[in-house]
Protein backbone atom coordinates (compact mmCIF):
# COMPACT_ATOMS: atom_id res chain seq x y z
CA UNK A 1 0.00 0.00 0.00
CA UNK A 2 2.80 2.32 0.85
CA UNK A 3 4.55 1.36 -2.33
CA UNK A 4 1.44 2.27 -4.22
CA UNK A 5 1.31 5.69 -2.60
CA UNK A 6 4.93 6.34 -3.39
CA UNK A 7 4.40 5.45 -6.95
CA UNK A 8 1.33 7.60 -7.19
CA UNK A 9 3.29 10.58 -5.94
CA UNK A 10 5.95 10.06 -8.57
CA UNK A 11 3.37 10.31 -11.29
CA UNK A 12 3.14 13.48 -13.30
CA UNK A 13 -0.06 15.22 -14.04
CA UNK A 14 -2.23 13.28 -16.41
CA UNK A 15 -0.75 9.93 -15.67
CA UNK A 16 -2.60 7.23 -13.86
CA UNK A 17 -1.28 4.14 -12.25
CA UNK A 18 -4.14 1.95 -13.38
CA UNK A 19 -3.64 2.84 -16.96
CA UNK A 20 0.08 2.39 -16.73
CA UNK A 21 -0.17 -1.02 -15.16
CA UNK A 22 -2.89 -2.11 -17.52
CA UNK A 23 -1.00 -1.02 -20.56
CA UNK A 24 2.17 -2.73 -19.33
CA UNK A 25 0.16 -5.88 -19.09
CA UNK A 26 -1.55 -5.35 -22.41
CA UNK A 27 1.34 -4.35 -24.58
CA UNK A 28 2.94 -7.78 -24.93
CA UNK A 29 -0.39 -9.14 -26.04
CA UNK A 30 -0.92 -6.30 -28.46
CA UNK A 31 2.47 -6.90 -29.98
CA UNK A 32 1.88 -10.59 -30.14
CA UNK A 33 -1.39 -9.96 -31.88
CA UNK A 34 0.33 -7.64 -34.30
CA UNK A 35 2.86 -10.31 -35.14
CA UNK A 36 0.08 -12.82 -35.54
CA UNK A 37 -1.73 -10.54 -37.94
CA UNK A 38 1.37 -10.14 -40.04
CA UNK A 39 2.25 -13.79 -40.11
CA UNK A 40 -1.27 -15.08 -40.47
CA UNK A 41 -2.16 -12.68 -43.25
CA UNK A 42 -2.26 -15.56 -45.71
CA UNK A 43 -5.17 -17.23 -43.96
CA UNK A 44 -7.17 -14.53 -42.23
CA UNK A 45 -7.88 -10.86 -42.58
CA UNK A 46 -4.77 -8.81 -42.08
CA UNK A 47 -1.28 -8.73 -43.37
CA UNK A 48 1.81 -6.63 -43.14
CA UNK A 49 0.07 -3.36 -43.12
CA UNK A 50 -2.57 -4.02 -40.48
CA UNK A 51 -0.10 -5.89 -38.29
CA UNK A 52 2.40 -3.12 -38.63
CA UNK A 53 -0.13 -0.57 -37.56
CA UNK A 54 -1.01 -2.63 -34.51
CA UNK A 55 2.65 -2.97 -33.57
CA UNK A 56 3.05 0.74 -34.04
CA UNK A 57 -0.03 1.33 -31.93
CA UNK A 58 1.62 -0.51 -29.05
CA UNK A 59 4.30 2.16 -28.98
CA UNK A 60 1.68 4.84 -29.20
CA UNK A 61 -0.04 3.32 -26.21
CA UNK A 62 3.22 3.30 -24.29
CA UNK A 63 3.84 6.90 -25.14
CA UNK A 64 0.36 7.88 -24.08
CA UNK A 65 0.27 5.92 -20.83
CA UNK A 66 3.77 6.87 -19.71
CA UNK A 67 5.63 9.49 -21.63
CA UNK A 68 7.34 9.51 -24.92
CA UNK A 69 10.83 9.11 -23.49
CA UNK A 70 9.68 5.89 -21.94
CA UNK A 71 8.39 4.46 -25.16
CA UNK A 72 11.57 5.48 -26.90
CA UNK A 73 13.55 3.33 -24.52
CA UNK A 74 12.07 0.33 -26.29
CA UNK A 75 12.76 1.62 -29.76
CA UNK A 76 15.01 4.60 -30.12
CA UNK A 77 14.69 7.17 -32.83
CA UNK A 78 17.69 5.74 -34.59
CA UNK A 79 16.41 2.19 -34.44
CA UNK A 80 13.05 3.18 -35.78
CA UNK A 81 14.69 4.98 -38.67
CA UNK A 82 16.81 1.94 -39.32
CA UNK A 83 13.79 -0.36 -39.20
CA UNK A 84 11.84 1.86 -41.55
CA UNK A 85 14.70 1.75 -44.00
CA UNK A 86 15.09 -1.98 -43.62
CA UNK A 87 11.41 -2.61 -44.14
CA UNK A 88 11.20 -0.64 -47.33
CA UNK A 89 14.51 -2.03 -48.48
CA UNK A 90 13.29 -5.61 -47.99
CA UNK A 91 10.41 -5.00 -50.34
CA UNK A 92 12.28 -3.10 -53.03
CA UNK A 93 15.30 -5.35 -52.64
CA UNK A 94 13.23 -8.48 -53.09
CA UNK A 95 11.74 -7.04 -56.22
CA UNK A 96 15.11 -6.11 -57.61
CA UNK A 97 16.61 -9.46 -56.67
CA UNK A 98 13.90 -11.19 -58.66
CA UNK A 99 14.90 -9.11 -61.66
CA UNK A 100 18.57 -9.77 -61.11
CA UNK A 101 18.05 -13.52 -60.81
CA UNK A 102 16.63 -13.64 -64.25
CA UNK A 103 12.93 -13.11 -63.72
CA UNK A 104 10.82 -10.06 -64.03
CA UNK A 105 10.54 -7.42 -61.35
CA UNK A 106 8.74 -8.83 -58.26
CA UNK A 107 8.52 -12.20 -59.94
CA UNK A 108 9.09 -14.22 -56.77
CA UNK A 109 9.30 -17.52 -58.58
CA UNK A 110 12.62 -16.40 -59.98
CA UNK A 111 14.11 -16.70 -56.50
CA UNK A 112 13.74 -20.43 -56.81
CA UNK A 113 17.43 -20.58 -57.64
CA UNK A 114 18.24 -19.48 -54.08
CA UNK A 115 16.17 -22.00 -52.16
CA UNK A 116 14.34 -24.55 -54.27
CA UNK A 117 10.80 -24.50 -52.97
CA UNK A 118 8.98 -24.67 -56.24
CA UNK A 119 7.70 -21.67 -58.15
CA UNK A 120 4.23 -21.60 -56.65
CA UNK A 121 5.42 -22.02 -53.08
CA UNK A 122 7.85 -19.23 -53.72
CA UNK A 123 4.96 -17.02 -54.67
CA UNK A 124 3.48 -17.65 -51.28
CA UNK A 125 6.78 -17.29 -49.51
CA UNK A 126 7.65 -14.14 -51.43
CA UNK A 127 4.39 -12.59 -50.32
CA UNK A 128 5.35 -13.48 -46.78
CA UNK A 129 8.74 -11.82 -47.10
CA UNK A 130 7.36 -8.61 -48.44
CA UNK A 131 4.60 -8.60 -45.86
CA UNK A 132 7.26 -8.72 -43.16
CA UNK A 133 9.00 -5.80 -44.86
CA UNK A 134 5.75 -3.87 -44.99
CA UNK A 135 5.11 -4.68 -41.36
CA UNK A 136 8.49 -3.39 -40.25
CA UNK A 137 8.23 -0.23 -42.27
CA UNK A 138 4.70 0.53 -41.20
CA UNK A 139 5.40 -0.16 -37.53
CA UNK A 140 8.38 2.12 -37.30
CA UNK A 141 6.86 4.82 -39.44
CA UNK A 142 3.64 4.87 -37.43
CA UNK A 143 5.71 5.21 -34.26
CA UNK A 144 7.78 7.98 -35.84
CA UNK A 145 4.70 9.81 -37.04
CA UNK A 146 3.22 9.79 -33.58
CA UNK A 147 6.41 10.67 -31.77
CA UNK A 148 7.22 13.60 -33.98
CA UNK A 149 3.69 14.94 -34.08
CA UNK A 150 3.10 14.21 -30.41
CA UNK A 151 6.15 16.10 -29.27
CA UNK A 152 5.92 18.87 -31.80
CA UNK A 153 9.21 17.80 -33.27
CA UNK A 154 11.24 17.87 -30.09
CA UNK A 155 11.19 14.16 -29.30
CA UNK A 156 10.93 14.77 -25.55
CA UNK A 157 8.15 13.95 -23.12
CA UNK A 158 5.47 14.52 -25.68
CA UNK A 159 1.86 15.05 -24.87
Amino acid sequence: MKLLQEQTQKLKIGESLIIQTASRLLIPFIQLFGLYVIVHGHYSPGGGFQGGVILGASFVLLALAFDQKFSMQYMSEKTSGLLANTGALIFVGTGTLCAIFGGLFLHYSALDVLIPLGPIEWRSFGIFIVEVGVGLAVMSNMAILFWVLGSNGEMDEGL
Partner: protein
Protein backbone atom coordinates in the same frame (compact mmCIF):
# COMPACT_ATOMS: atom_id res chain seq x y z
CA UNK B 1 -33.30 -6.76 -44.36
CA UNK B 2 -29.65 -6.06 -44.54
CA UNK B 3 -30.25 -2.94 -46.52
CA UNK B 4 -32.18 -1.42 -43.63
CA UNK B 5 -29.11 -1.80 -41.47
CA UNK B 6 -27.17 -0.39 -44.37
CA UNK B 7 -29.41 2.63 -44.60
CA UNK B 8 -29.18 3.17 -40.86
CA UNK B 9 -25.41 3.20 -40.92
CA UNK B 10 -25.33 5.34 -44.01
CA UNK B 11 -27.57 7.98 -42.52
CA UNK B 12 -25.51 7.95 -39.34
CA UNK B 13 -22.44 8.40 -41.50
CA UNK B 14 -23.85 11.49 -43.14
CA UNK B 15 -24.82 12.91 -39.76
CA UNK B 16 -21.35 12.24 -38.37
CA UNK B 17 -19.67 13.76 -41.38
CA UNK B 18 -21.73 16.92 -41.17
CA UNK B 19 -21.13 17.13 -37.44
CA UNK B 20 -17.41 16.57 -37.82
CA UNK B 21 -16.98 19.51 -40.11
CA UNK B 22 -19.37 21.81 -38.32
CA UNK B 23 -18.44 21.48 -34.64
CA UNK B 24 -16.43 24.42 -33.44
CA UNK B 25 -14.40 22.41 -30.94
CA UNK B 26 -11.74 20.66 -32.95
CA UNK B 27 -11.16 17.94 -30.38
CA UNK B 28 -14.80 16.94 -30.51
CA UNK B 29 -14.71 17.12 -34.26
CA UNK B 30 -11.82 14.71 -34.29
CA UNK B 31 -13.57 12.31 -31.97
CA UNK B 32 -16.66 12.43 -34.12
CA UNK B 33 -14.47 11.75 -37.08
CA UNK B 34 -13.24 8.69 -35.22
CA UNK B 35 -16.83 7.59 -34.77
CA UNK B 36 -17.39 8.17 -38.46
CA UNK B 37 -14.45 5.92 -39.23
CA UNK B 38 -15.82 3.20 -37.02
CA UNK B 39 -19.19 3.36 -38.70
CA UNK B 40 -17.46 3.19 -42.03
CA UNK B 41 -15.54 0.16 -40.88
CA UNK B 42 -18.76 -1.49 -39.80
CA UNK B 43 -20.29 -0.81 -43.15
CA UNK B 44 -17.41 -2.30 -45.01
CA UNK B 45 -17.32 -5.37 -42.85
CA UNK B 46 -20.97 -5.77 -43.61
CA UNK B 47 -20.17 -5.50 -47.30
CA UNK B 48 -17.68 -8.33 -47.05
CA UNK B 49 -14.55 -6.24 -47.22
CA UNK B 50 -12.99 -7.57 -44.05
CA UNK B 51 -9.44 -6.49 -44.81
CA UNK B 52 -10.47 -2.97 -45.62
CA UNK B 53 -12.60 -2.85 -42.52
CA UNK B 54 -9.73 -4.09 -40.41
CA UNK B 55 -7.41 -1.50 -41.85
CA UNK B 56 -9.90 1.30 -41.44
CA UNK B 57 -10.40 0.29 -37.83
CA UNK B 58 -6.69 0.45 -37.08
CA UNK B 59 -5.83 3.40 -39.26
CA UNK B 60 -8.85 5.61 -39.70
CA UNK B 61 -10.28 5.20 -36.23
CA UNK B 62 -6.97 4.53 -34.52
CA UNK B 63 -3.83 6.13 -35.82
CA UNK B 64 -5.45 8.96 -37.77
CA UNK B 65 -7.48 10.07 -34.79
CA UNK B 66 -4.51 9.87 -32.48
CA UNK B 67 -2.43 11.90 -34.86
CA UNK B 68 -5.15 14.50 -35.12
CA UNK B 69 -5.44 14.69 -31.36
CA UNK B 70 -1.70 14.98 -30.98
CA UNK B 71 -1.62 17.85 -33.42
CA UNK B 72 -4.59 19.60 -31.88
CA UNK B 73 -3.16 19.38 -28.39
CA UNK B 74 -0.09 21.19 -29.65
CA UNK B 75 -2.11 23.86 -31.34
CA UNK B 76 -5.52 25.14 -30.42
CA UNK B 77 -8.89 23.53 -29.91
CA UNK B 78 -11.01 26.38 -31.02
CA UNK B 79 -12.10 26.97 -34.53
CA UNK B 80 -14.16 29.74 -36.01
CA UNK B 81 -16.09 27.52 -38.33
Amino acid sequence: MIWILDLLILSLLVICAIAAINIKDLLSATIIFGVYSFLMCLLWAEMGAVDVAFTEATVGAGISTVLFIAAILHTSRRSKD
